[in-house]
Symmetry: C2
Subunit: 408 residues, 2 copies
Amino acid sequence: MSRIVMKFGGTSVGSIDKIKNVANIVKTTFSEGHEVVVVLSAMAGETDRLINLTNDLSDNFSEEEYDVVISTGEQVSVGLLSAALNDNGIDARTCLGWQVPIITSSDHMSARIEGIKSEFINAILKEQKVCVIPGFQGITVEGRVTTLGRGGSDTSAVAIAAAINADFCDIYTDVDGVYTTDPNKVPEAKRLDKVSYEEMLEMASLGAKVLQTRSVETAMTNNVALRVLSSFENLNESKGTIVTDEDSINDQRIVTGVTSSVNDCKITLIGVRDKPGIAAKIFSSLSENNINVDMIVQNISESAKTTDITFTIPKADIKNAEKIMKQLRTDVTYESILIDSNIAKISIVGVGMRSNAGVAAKMFNVLSENDININVISTSEIKISILINNDQAEKAVRMLHDYFLLTN
Amino acid sequence: MSRIVMKFGGTSVGSIDKIKNVANIVKTTFSEGHEVVVVLSAMAGETDRLINLTNDLSDNFSEEEYDVVISTGEQVSVGLLSAALNDNGIDARTCLGWQVPIITSSDHMSARIEGIKSEFINAILKEQKVCVIPGFQGITVEGRVTTLGRGGSDTSAVAIAAAINADFCDIYTDVDGVYTTDPNKVPEAKRLDKVSYEEMLEMASLGAKVLQTRSVETAMTNNVALRVLSSFENLNESKGTIVTDEDSINDQRIVTGVTSSVNDCKITLIGVRDKPGIAAKIFSSLSENNINVDMIVQNISESAKTTDITFTIPKADIKNAEKIMKQLRTDVTYESILIDSNIAKISIVGVGMRSNAGVAAKMFNVLSENDININVISTSEIKISILINNDQAEKAVRMLHDYFLLTN
């Protein structure tokens, strides 16, 4: 007997029929003798419908009341699933955020879970009931309703799994696991049986949308074994991917995945006067305006007294960033500003890189052999990212995937 | 300065524009220096949408989870209104059923309010905030979500008004008060400035849908002054109707209102063997099947050993009642059964009847002069009800209204 947290996202509970399907999956697991906690998102489309109501009402909608309104989406889906389980002869009950309680920070609309009382959940499990908990929501210590921000249901599930010492936290999605690269673009992509937290973190933050970054962090911190499974596949066929600590993974490849993202744009300040504190000024201005900078590259020019600074930011922030850069011009002297939206970030990820020299060189070789020009390079311990022209993104991913994941 | 509970129904908060309108009405009252608690229903159509989800899922939906699902409708509307008030510069916050808390019985789907803690509401009012509370919902002492059954928001408002010793409980609806009869059918109908609890109770239970019966009972028990007001009229023009105790009403008429209802049907058992316990058998069978019997008439026949028993039940229960009567036939011997759906119940209501003899005679005279045949008569202290043919209902109401409410 294991203790299992099963989390289903919005598309998995997007209609009455799909909710019945989820009830069947839960029934199968429960009938195997496991203790089961289910965590749900709102029905697909419902959160957007509620957000639209708040937008229609005000451009400056109260954050506290936003959480009161939006959190109802999950309350509906847990009520429906719990009733569907009862209908299937499974004893189940809902346990809302305030009933658990799930205590969060008071950062409305993007609260962080600070603590989850396990007593009530444990009591329900002891009664051999399935406990159905809405994801994405909690309350402050003062008892006000909060939400965790979009995608927060994964984090709820992992935090609940940690709080009740669950053996597994199963994240059911519309894909059957984590792949070596996007299978929609590269048919040869292979499902990974296991992937380490660190790799998953890099891949999640690079745009592989299977798991929320924060949920992987929470799983890593609390050593919760995550399983990514499909809620649409035949139950017996779905094997999924286990996200776990590095040591539990035997057959370690050097590169685990290739990811691609086209959400960023590149800004280059040309001819920046090279004096101390310039970089600090640029990036603190961006940070103060909540613009998230990803890659930063500065080329030191030995001859001249100027340098070029390149960085990437989300495309949505282009206009705002441009304004800020122009305001800075009296302070940060530079010759001109270049903005390029036609870029893609391609990354290879793998904990094996730590102990294998020359991975970067191999990556650059593959690209060069295919006439793909590299704009910017940035590396971490287990990841190498490059910026290239958008047009060449698919080709680059395919070639890197062929080289690192199919041929060795 | 008064302490006022303002209650708005589903049509009053049926769209974002209407919610903004409600925010204006609340702002006007609050700006006059009053302490204000607002109680809301779900946006019109929302409760039906949620009920449909539960119906689509199961014919036997868990009652506990039904309440979890359905209660979200009011949570959305209070969040929206509270934000609209904040937008208007009014300090406001929601206070959900579990936050107050509003403690109810554990009869899910039709719970009764057992107690309302006033401390939290009082604290919010003391901070000079408007407190926005969802109607229709509460929690059990064990902390499970309950709903009061349809229309329960009126009852919530009155119970909250009683708990916090409010000076007024203002029920905003789509009409501007209680009328002497249905103004849609009789243009001469007049708005009543004041009506007693007892009269309002009789009128509510007779189908005048301005206020829920249970809310009037609660108001009477706790002596809460109810005002029925329109949320659509210009604020200055809307005077409404005060529902209060009899003694506060000076210019007492004999008849206060004429009501008409076509929701019932009439069942007559002909030739019932007249022996003790027969009536008990018939009506306990109906009651066990949750069929609500309204009028009962038995004609004692002196000559024969049989009698005719006539009673009325809601039209929705015809088939069920017919089945029960047929099952009873071995026990309750009767010759035949007659079912008539083409009937209307016409009532005149007024506390003045108590001290005025001959009101019934006058009523029957008016009807006879207009060739309206009376089927069944039933009377209470302050009400006389008759059953007549459906076709003659409008005429009967008009004539009685003319006679009792326009001419004297």
